[in-house]
């Protein structure tokens, strides 16, 4: 479903990704781990299409399509979703407004009419229940004054509402309390399906206990230094990254 080949990327004139190769098949969950500053978020933004992230070599295909040729909004409409490590606040624009605009953008692209407002509200309320978000929060500004954990849950809510096909979750588990981690994991698992693929960027085994990955990749200094099964994550938890980086 997602095929990354020899991916090199540069930010502000600095080479960050230095040749990544891996593929995520439909129905799979891959975890990306690695030390701070190794390029995990950079990879996530390159996949989502952030401006200023220049791909200098390599290719990314999503369902056979050249993903890198598309602007971010078109990637999103194709079903790519990035859960931000640092969700952005948009004061004055309610969560509902954002979600409705996002849903309608997809519908417009598919030649469908705008969603019925009542159906929309019912759908969002239903999804909000899954992540235990108070309906009152839906009318507040996007992430405006949300706590760190609330912002992360809000990312999951957006994902549940938009039903993407490729979910890239950048440290959505960081900063969550134990109950919230469970809620977020349940949200991710609810989305798992043979038609969807997931890329989990995380530092912690805890998340992977709830969301079993098919593969684990370790990113260090812009390279994948090791790939393996779920046991690799447990090994990292025990031994840290030093032994891999030295390699």
């Amino acid at each position: 479903m997602l095929e990354i080949k020899n991916l090199h990327a540069r930010v502000e004139g600095k080479d960050i990704l230095k040749g990544l190769d891996f593929s995520v098949g439909a129905g799979q969950v891959h975890a990306i781990m690695g030390p701070n500053g190794s390029g995990k978020s950079t990879l996530a933004h390159v996949l989502a299409g952030r401006e200023g992230y220049e791909v200098t070599e390599g290719s990314v295909r999503f369902d056979g399509q050249d993903l890198l040729a598309l602007p971010p909004e078109e990637r999103a409409c194709l079903g790519v979703f990035l859960g931000f490590q640092y969700p952005v606040e948009i004061p004055g624009v309610s969560n509902l407004t954002l979600l409705k605009a996002a849903l309608n953008a997809r519908r417009k692209r598919n030649g469908q009419p705008e969603i019925d407002p009542a159906d929309f509200l019912a759908w969002v309320r239903d999804r909000a229940k899954l992540v235990k978000i108070d309906p009152k929060m839906l009318s507040r500004g996007v992430n405006e004054g949300f706590s760190g954990g609330e912002k992360k849950r809000n990312e999951i809510l957006q994902m549940l509402v938009l039903e993407p096909r490729l979910m890239i979750l950048d440290e959505t588990d960081s900063g969550l309390d134990i109950d919230a981690l469970k809620i977020v994991s349940d949200g991710i698992n609810a989305m798992r399906s043979p038609q969807r693929a997931t890329l989990l960027v995380t530092h912690y085994q805890r998340l992977l206990d709830y969301v079993q990955p098919d593969r684990v990749h370790v990113l260090a200094r812009g390279h994948i230094v090791r790939s393996g099964g779920p046991e690799l994550a447990r090994e990292l938890e025990a031994r840290g990254y030093g032994w891999l980086e030295a390699a």
Partner: protein, 483 residues
């Protein structure tokens, strides 16, 4: 990041001005120039009574001794008042059409293009419209229905003929003839505008609306609006404005006077979309306007709501004089400046009576190289015990070449006054746009969504139909811009 700034600049590039067409209609235009003779000519063309001519001449003589105000935070070359024509009317316009059937079909076509289909408006209920084309009023719809309620809504030139006692009593009673440079000029040469009179106890049965359009080259538009709400009456009035796209600047210097007697309420809304000039700042309307409401009666209320997206230069401070005890003044404003537009706008709340209250909510949006200033004065006189004011003043910047400036002034001469002031400045961040795009929303739409969110508090003050309109207008003003 440098690249991001360039992006945003691209984004804010150029708006398309939808109302920028010229109507090919033969006009009778007085040659450019200003003198007592021109004023006599205008007055004669309108068959005005002697007192009105004298009023005009008095203002003209005062104006000659005045100088253009320099204090506003706007820059433009001096205006050559002798190069402007002070009167223009479509040739087909004779004594003033009595019904729409007498209106030149080309004019009806013009208004249809602007989204004001007069005929349909007349049939479908809702809004009574007066339209002013260059210097004259061409149509007033719904006259009969309004008359049944006792409401007078007509061109001011007609009111001079048919209700001279009302005009004479109130004209210049809120904005004196020598009030300021542009008000004096307007008083000398005003050509048309709307007159509204709501008798005691009447709640006006529909929204009243006037559309102003400048069509002729080198003409100024100097309209004069007078609204009187007698005791216990209520009215909601909306004005809209457009002008063709031209390279030279055109002057618009209007005066609006509102009078609210005891327990009366006037809601005055403006959606201003005059031609703003092009990307380089060529052309566009100079909009120098004096708008003032007089809460003359106890418990009266005057509310100004404005959405200003047009004009090359805007200089405008809708104000309230809170004379009556317990009277209320409100000012809700959204002003957008893009490209080279400059706006110096705000309000004045003058508290005279006891327990008077005022609210000011100003939302300024600057994009491109737009420069915007909020200038607000809250004055509490000795007589105004327990006066209250709440001021909220927010600026939104799009890109890094625009500017927002805030000049709040307060003068308090009564110690029981309570004033509150809040101000914020925010920027549409590249990260916000990216976040929206990552959710599938285009940049253009994201900007419009954020801007609309920013303006919510003001839009909710507009009459329903126009709130939607205003949202769209803002979107268009920023939109043509993208891609």
């Amino acid at each position: 990041m440098a690249t991001q700034e360039t992006e945003i600049r691209e984004l804010m590039k150029r708006r398309e001005y939808g109302a920028g067409f010229v109507t090919a209609i033969e006009s009778e235009t007085v040659p450019p120039g200003l003198s007592e003779d021109v004023i006599r000519l205008i007055s004669a063309k309108k068959g005005e009574p002697e007192w009105l001519l004298e009023f005009r001449l008095k203002a003209y003589r005062r104006w000659l001794k005045m100088t253009a105000p320099q204090w506003a935070h706007v820059q433009y070359p001096p205006i050559d008042f002798q190069a402007i024509s002070y009167y223009s009317q479509p040739k087909s316009h004779k004594a003033g059409p009595k019904s729409l059937d007498e209106v030149d079909p080309k004019l009806l076509e013009t208004y249809k293009k602007l989204g004001i289909p007069l005929r349909e408006q007349e049939m479908l209920a809702g809004v009574a419209v007066d339209v002013v084309f260059d210097s004259v009023s061409v149509a007033t719809t719904f006259k009969k229905k309004l008359a049944e309620a006792g409401v007078i809504f007509c061109p001011i030139s007609e009111a001079v003929q048919e209700h001279p006692e009302l005009v004479r009593k109130y004209l210049g009673s809120v904005v004196p003839f020598g009030d300021n440079y542009y008000a004096a000029l307007n008083t000398a040469v005003f050509t048309d505008g709307s007159f509204v009179f709501i008798p005691r106890g009447v709640r006006c049965p529909m929204e009243l609306s006037t559309y102003f359009r400048i069509n002729e080259r080198n003409t100024g538009q100097f309209e004069r609006t007078l609204i009187i709400a007698e005791e216990g009456s209520q009215v909601s009035y909306l004005e809209g404005c457009t002008a063709p796209q031209r390279d030279e600047n055109q002057l618009h210097a209007a005066v609006v006077e509102l009078v609210a007697l005891d327990d009366a309420q006037i809601k005055y809304s403006t959606v201003q979309n005059w031609y703003p000039g092009d990307e380089q700042g060529r052309g566009g309307i100079y909009n120098f306007v004096t708008k003032r409401g007089d809460c003359r009666g106890a418990r009266s209320k005057i509310s100004w709501t404005q959405v200003e997206t047009g004009s090359a230069i805007t200089w405008k401070y809708p104000s309230c004089i809170l004379r009556g005890d317990d009277s209320v003044g409100e000012f809700y404003s959204v002003a957008l400046t893009n490209n080279r537009q400059q706006a110096d706008t705000g309000t004045k709340m003058i508290h005279v009576g006891k327990n008077t209250r005022s609210t000011i909510v100003s939302k300024g949006i600057s994009a491109g190289q737009g420069q915007q200033s909020y200038r607000g004065l809250v004055r509490v006189l000795e007589t105004a015990a327990n006066a209250r004011n709440y001021t909220q003043c927010d600026s939104l910047l799009i890109g890094d070449r625009c500017g927002a400036h805030t000049f709040p002034y307060t003068e308090v001469r009564n110690p029981t006054a309570q004033l509150e002031h809040e101000a914020t400045t925010s920027k549409i961040g590249e990260d916000q746009l990216y976040y929206c795009r990552a959710r599938g929303i285009s940049e253009e739409e994201a900007v419009s969504m954020i801007v609309n969110g920013f303006c919510k508090e003001v839009f909710k003050e507009l009459p329903m139909e126009f709130a939607v309109e205003a949202g769209k207008l803002l979107a268009v003003s920023l939109e043509g811009a993208v891609g």
